[in-house]
Amino acid sequence: MMSRISGNQTGKETNSFRKEWKFSEILAERGVRERWEKVRKYFFLRESTYDMSNRCNIRCEGCYYYEGDKQFAAENKNPDSWRRLMQAEKARGITYVVLAGAEPSLAPDLCRICFKEFPLGSIATNGLKAIPADINFKIHISVWGNDDTSARVRSAKNMLIRQIENYRGDPRAVFVYTFTSNNIDQVHEVAAILAEHGCKLTFNVFSAPVGYRGDLRHTPETLGETRKAMMDLLTAYPGNVLFSPYNAVAHTHRKGLHDLYGCSYPRRNASTDIGLGRSFRQYRTDLNWDRAAACCVPDTDCDDCRHYAAGSAVVTARMFRHAGDPQTFKSWLDYVDTYLSVWVMDYHKGANLSDRMAAPPENEIF
């Protein structure tokens, strides 16, 4: 049959005769079958997110939390209210919690209550205040450039070394480097320091909040430079960098995640059909949530969304459309393997099955 090639390096779409693969044939390769069996054990994960405080000890340019109206929700600090919320969440099928905005480390007792109810979860933090060791969630520490840049855009001095001091050797910790349009070159310096201290590193791509007018927003050129830096570091620090070539493609594509894959979060998926659109909620600090805003990073401009947290749900949910040929499916498996290693305690990433970039289904490579 005539069909489009969707997995070449050049991104050129050509018409040619192509084998139509069965799923069983794709899984026939031993390494693929093993990785599939490894990741599918985690298909039970169903997330929701929770703002733990409306305070933060630093203020960063482009911060998602301080956009929109969620920042104005009152803080509910009542432990019983949080415990009841967590129990209700469990009862409706949630299996994974993401504790976020504005700064969860300022509400450790509430984080602890969440952990006692949910064995699986993660905390997004700026890393300046250590989260107690008994809260055994993955901890995502945000890095927005080298220390000079952090001092400028986050008003925090010696940020990286303070983050490392708090989390060196901590198996919970993953450093998340957010590529903006003007910190791309600095990632090499940051990655070298993190690798020297044995820290794990993954990548995020700045996704502009709605109405953002600053200079951090990416252009096609900076997305290309970001992709190259990601691939270079994947090669340079394979033991430290949790990423894959397909992650690089998905998050630095000219099209955002919604255009590439169809975002399944309630904010863009108004239906209550099976999947994330049905189960995901994003709770504010007053323990209310708004279906029209519910998204892993609310107030992001959806057309510009390349956020790592969004991709972790949006790309992984699109298994079916990646199961058309072995190369694309391997790339998807690498993405899922990466996502699980970043988000799930005691899950260890394997070697990537594919060392080359594949185009997202029905799209060009860039």
């Binding site: 169903r46 189960s279 079916f320």
Partner: protein, 95 residues
């Protein structure tokens, strides 16, 4: 014993695939209520359904469109969907 209709065979096969792929315990294909809501009563999610859909795609050599997932809320509806696709395929082949 009366001969099973084609839809009954498909229902049994879909139920077997569900049980095998999703490792459902304490249930046989024959005991699988084809009208039970897969999402609300069994807890099947979109990833589970995608897995089952890929295996069924292989077995019946038909396309199961991702956009059609929301319609496939129980085993009977999946079986009827497959039957419809098989019918369209045989008509296309005859032409």
């Amino acid at each position: 014993m009366p001969m099973k209709t084609n839809i009954e065979e498909i229902i049994l096969h879909v139920a077997r695939v569900m049980i095998d792929e999703l490792k459902l315990e304490d249930i046989t294909p024959e005991g699988f209520d084809p009208d039970i809501d897969l999402v609300d009563e069994i807890g099947i999610d979109s990833m589970d359904l995608a897995t089952v859909a890929l295996v069924l795609r292989d077995h019946y050599a038909i396309r199961i469109e991702e956009d059609d997932y929301p319609k496939l809320t129980n085993v009977r509806l999946i079986a009827e969907y497959i039957e419809q696709k098989l019918s369209e395929k045989s008509v296309a082949a005859a032409n």
